[in-house]
Amino acid sequence: MSRNNLLLIVGVIVVAAVIIFNLDMQVEDKKETVSFKPAVVFDMGGKFDKSFNEGVWNGVKKFTEETGIEVMEFEVTNETQREQAMRRMVDKGATVVLGVGFAQADAISKVAAENPNVQFSIIDVGWLDAPNLRQYVFKEHEGSYLVGIAAAKATKTGKVGFVGGQDIGLISKFACGYVGGVKSVLPNADIYENMTGSTPSAWNDPARGAELTRSQIDRGADVVYHAAGGTGVGVIQAAADAGKLAIGVDSNQNGLAPGSVLTSMLKRVDVAAYETFMDAKNGKFTSGVKALGIAEGGVDWALDENNESLITADIKSALEAAREAILSGSVTVHDYLTDQTCPY
């Protein structure tokens, strides 16, 4: 046997080994993907939006860190991409797809109906119905109740404000919980409530948000809670400019105006994201609507270095007591959406 032939044979063996090994790997890979492959579709704004999407991203990150399983992701940059993105995830073999925000409701219900063997989950939607779709809603009224207590404890004038975004039932739910919290501490408090408007542009009108806040401050309010999306940026800034306090919403907004944001009502979307993937991984995926409240760790109030000087021991203990009361069931916060009225 010549030297050349020997080299050739060794070469063939090596190549064959590599190919077989790789094939083997691929089979292994395939097995993995068939059993479990999570995906998430972030909505407009992207995963570092310092708000909703970033909350979901934090939950995803936690899941990946704990399990070592990578989550496929897509960041939607315009409205037509939502459905495409979900379809693409399914095509790539995703076994569970998480949608972020009510704007994806239509897309997910369509794609879920077409792919009955894939599990879907969506955050902030509670009105769809599909056997393979889990929906997360939050008990915002409970979180609003807590920050209402904080507001009532922090006000010096006995007057507080609320600025909502679009005038819809969901926002009345925030308002009603907040009023309940305030009145549980100060039964005679004056509460000024303003809705920014009746069209979707009410979510993106910080100038009007600031003006509404000033109108409330003019009337004596010194703590203003907002549930108004982008409009709320104006609320927080108007309160800060006037030397009063604001309360943020959804994500931790304490840092938007350090020292002027009393606290923020947190919607823990990260909990929903983490739970979706964990349940799917462990075969515990269920469809239907899941409501996350204080008991489930779904809503909370924010405490960090930006507001620790504002949260006195008194406020803190009142908030802890209220949380305990809700957990134990001795206090039930009314949900406006159940009967469209607010009893407080």
Binding site: E211, S215, R219, D241
Partner: protein, 325 residues
């Protein structure tokens, strides 16, 4: 009763703040439309300017640089509008609409690319904004002079520089339009461009000059929204203010001073709406704030329908000028 008057005063103060971008927008509209160019792109130009002002002010820390950049971008948008409908004689409404759509998409996309915060800019620190200016002796007068002192402190003092610029723009617009040769020509080009042409004055040049001025004013309106009354850009933050300015301009019959009062009235209705929302009144009960907010539009439609004196827009408005050869 004293409290009622104090609240009334504060509502007036609020009207001025709400009206400021409307006034600047309406004056921009007057310049553009008086020269014969329909300008529904007020909204888009304001939005672009608001974004650029916030982005540059955040990057450089200087609201002035932000304002300059915003005005330049707003002028560029005006020039695009002019390129389409003066040079190429395109449809002015469609060109304006295109600029609005471009503005609403582009601001968000660039915003996401630059700041990764969902199309918002980061919140601006106080030093990167136009802050309110307390006039001298405000507190002293309020304490020592009855009524007028309080009016001085609450109504006149405490506005930022753009509010003053907006009010000044009304006088300047009036002066330019009605007291200068340039203004005479500008009005003529919107009424009877062929007359101007036969006098040897370029119609295109006049119209370009008019829309550049409109661009500057729109830029200031955007600057006001994101770096004076606001502290940063939020997507779609103009929220229809450009269209309301347009309505105010029509309500003011394409004249600066009546347009100013239309803007102030729209602002006042909004300020009152904010205060009556949810409040119970004796006898009449709760007043619908939506109704108050809709009132400006209803009034504008009624006006356009010819019930209040009738309106006559510039005669050559919307028509591209074609030189006879």
């Amino acid at each position: 009763m004293a409290d009622f008057w104090f609240q009334f005063l504060l509502a007036l103060d609020s009207s001025i703040r709400v009206a400021t971008p409307l006034i600047l927008g309406a004056m921009a509209g007057i310049f553009s439309e008086r020269s014969g160019i329909i300008d529904i792109s007020l909204e888009g130009k304001m939005l672009m300017a608001a974004f650029v002002a916030a982005a540059v002010a955040y990057g450089t820390g200087s609201p002035w640089l932000g304002a300059i950049a915003a005005i330049i971008v707003s002028i560029i948008a005006s020039l695009i509008h002019g390129f389409a409908c003066i040079i190429h004689r395109g449809n002015q409404v469609i060109s304006g609409l295109a600029i609005n759509i471009l503005a609403s998409g582009l601001t968000v996309i660039i915003g996401i690319a630059l700041f990764r915060q969902g199309g918002q800019t980061p919140t601006l620190p106080k030093s990167a904004r136009f802050n309110s200016i307390e006039l001298p002796f405000a507190q002293y007068f309020a304490d020592n002079i009855p009524i007028l002192g309080v009016v001085y402190k609450e109504l006149i003092s405490g506005h930022n520089i753009l509010v003053w610029l907006a009010l000044a723009s009304v006088g300047i617009t009036y002066y330019i339009l009605f007291k200068t040769t340039f203004g005479l020509r500008l009005r003529a080009v919107g009424e009877k461009p062929e007359a101007l042409d036969s006098a040897g004055i370029s119609v295109s040049k006049m119209r370009f000059q008019a829309i550049i001025i409109a661009g500057i004013l729109c830029g200031l309106a955007g600057v006001y929204l994101s770096t004076a009354t606001g502290a940063g850009f939020v997507k779609e933050m103009t929220a229809g203010k450009g269209y309301i300015a347009l309505a105010a301009m029509i309500f003011g019959k394409w004249r600066p001073v009546p347009a100013l009062f239309a803007c102030l009235m729209f602002g006042f209705l909004e300020a009152v709406a904010a205060r009556v929302q949810g409040a119970e009144f004796p006898i009449i009960g709760e007043i619908s704030s939506d109704l108050l907010l809709a009132l400006p539009y209803v009034l504008t439609v009624v006006l356009l329908a010819g019930f209040i004196g009738g309106v006559s827009p510039p005669r050559a408005i919307g028509q591209p000028y074609i030189k006879e050869r």
